[in-house]
Amino acid sequence: MKKLLLVFILLLSATAFAQDDNLTIVAVGDATLEKDKMVVQDPYTSGSLTAAQKNSAMELVKLLRNDFAFYQKKFFLVESAQNNTASRQTTNYDYWNGKGIRYLGTASVDKSGVDMKVTVVFEDIKNRKQIYNSSMTTSISNMRRTGHEMANKVYKQIIGKDSIFNSKITFVSDRNTRGRKTVKEVYMMDFDGKNVVQLTNHAGIVMSPTMSADGRWLVYSLISNTGKKRNNDLYLMDMRTKTATVLSNKEGVNSGAVFLTGGHSIALTLTVSGNAEIYEMNINTKELRKITNHFASDVDPSITADGTLMTFLSDRPGKAMIYTMDPRGTEKDVKRISFVGQFNATPRFSPDGKEIVFSSWLDNSFDLFRISSDGQGLSRLTKDFGSNEDPSYSNDGEFITFTSQRVISRARADQNIYIMDRDGGILGAITSGFGNCISPRWYNF
């Protein structure tokens, strides 16, 4: 009896909890960006170094400063006064705290046999602890690579993910052109424009290079200057042996290739069926599978890192528009992404697959735009900056590289490769005086 009454009362009181809280919401608004101040001091060099080695030490420090300066939204590089001691002293946290510096980096270079021993130490002043302390032996020629590796490790300590410091950019340049014989070859350089290396040597016209994620294979289209047939063939180069073999020489265009996840097959555009379609080709068996199957032209594939989504350019609505689909099927889940634009081109996915950057013709030139992969949030990235094409995201999604054409005179236009951050803040050109540089692709092996 009493138990029943108790149950009864509990049930009644349950209704009291069902009422909603009556709270007032007040908006605080947008946050301010937190940029950390960083100082990289001039190098501490030992007297026994040669002059060339001392220069190399200075180059290392400049490289560290330049690398972190790329991330303008995260770090603010402050100039430091000259060193007043011969070697690195223990950090005076209060002194640097007083100046508002959050990170302090020092490089000490000593002699190690013929080469140099480089010790880089980074301190977190605010939390009063060392976040990086490492030594590496390196030669003058290897100094930049060592510097980039160390900078990447420091960045990873601070931010928690990989930076662009170890990344490379492949591109096509026509600097070997002599007179009327146009020659375009593929080159590779560090993300900061240094260390340019020539990869192909066909003396023909190479276009749209692409590399596998592990850096083992390079695929590109070549219009050979030798031979009678001037067909656009697809070549595969083994980066270990530097030998190139023909991957596809079907009639018409064999171009615009991009590696699919796994590195065993590529998605490419072929016009062999009469109109441009995107196929999947296994690079070992050369087997073909149709990914698109439409009477309109479908070109320019770009795949997300996990291989589940592909974006491409299609003519099906009458104008060149951007579409996405599942590349694992044929005409599977095709979705139209762009609805405006006179002429859209080269859609490319960001590494997380959430955004697509593309080039579009507007106001007498090409400009770069960004749209999210579901079609929302179309925004413009460049304006009044020459004609900008062929964008490619960096491996951490923070930067975009592209080629920009400026008209110098009525007969001459220069194309160079630029880097900007993902919101359109131009950092600057990374090629200069190297012919016309186009088709940049960003990789981190």
Partner: protein, 286 residues
């Protein structure tokens, strides 16, 4: 002596009916609760469906490619007042220029007939000068290099919003205040509500200076709400996440911002009870 024991209701049927009645009433209450919940859910679904429909139709077709870049849009919101002043200045200047232009050709015409060759040469010079300027401008654009580290050491950091923008932002934010819905309980008094609202609207200005985000959290459209309990002297006694953004660091930073802003202004009797009760939610950003 007869011992008096409290008479117990041992009547069989009475007990039976009481038991039955309890069960029936309990059942009724359960039915009311579940029925209410189901009705609420259905209503909510309808509302959500309508919202989806509305937002689908509000997602207006893009009629044209955007003309302003992202950075231009960001700067526009902060430079609105300055731009207005500039436009006003321009308007006052233009008519003066026009008048001057009109006067000149009239003066020159009689001269023209005498020296036609000079005029054309002058024109050509002016045109070539313009071309030169244009060309050198183009060359300068291409000269920007990545190598040279920027000499920004002297620039003071203003963060995302400079001083010139605070007035505009305050205006915008005071409009962003969400007013509460119908009051279910409590002794809501008109005077009490406005005093409470006035106090609550002072809090964002005190919290915002402590509200900072690293760049990797900035453009993610994350939204968190922190419920804050204050003591009578304005100190934060408790601040917890009421609605999480999904990112633990974002949540932590919003709670830290609230705690760093403590103590807030002292509470007054008229609205103190509600604030003590944790009726204030701070939205980061909304």
């Amino acid at each position: 002596m007869k011992d008096f024991s409290t008479p117990k209701f041992n009547h069989q049927s009475f007990n039976f009916f009481v038991r039955r009645s309890t069960y029936v009433h309990a059942l009724l209450i359960l039915c009311t609760l579940t029925g209410g919940k189901i009705a609420f859910d259905i209503q909510q679904k309808e509302r959500d469906k309508n919202l989806e429909l509305i937002s689908a139709s509000v997602r207006v077709d893009m009629v044209a490619m955007p003309t302003q870049t992202l950075n231009e849009l960001k700067n526009m919101s902060s430079g609105v007042e300055e731009a207005k002043k500039e436009v006003k200045a321009e308007l006052t200047e233009k008519p003066v220029e026009k008048v001057a232009e009109k006067v000149e050709p009239k003066d020159e015409k009689p001269v023209e007939k005498e020296d036609p060759t000079d005029k054309t040469e002058a024109l050509r010079e002016a045109q070539s000068k313009k071309r030169m300027d244009f060309l050198s401008k183009l060359k300068k654009i291409g000269d920007k290099k990545v190598d040279a580290p920027k000499e920004n050491t002297q620039k003071a950091e203003k963060g995302l919003y400079g001083e010139k923008d605070t007035a505009l932002k305050n205006l915008v934010l005071s409009g962003n205040k969400l007013s509460k819905g119908t009051q279910m309980y409590g002794d809501g008094n008109a005077a009490e509500m406005t005093a409470f609202q006035a106090y609550a609207s002072r809090l964002p200005d005190l919290v915002r200076p402590h509200w900072k985000l690293p760049s990797f959290l900035m453009n993610k459209n994350l939204k968190a709400r922190v419920r804050v309990w204050l003591a009578m002297n304005g100190e934060v006694t408790r601040a917890v996440i009421y609605q999480s953004s999904g990112d633990s660091e974002y949540d932590q930073r919003s709670v830290d911002a609230v705690k760093a802003a403590s103590p807030f202004p002292a509470l007054k009797e008229e609205f103190g009870k509600r604030v003590l009760n944790g009726d204030i939610l701070l939205g980061f950003p909304l």
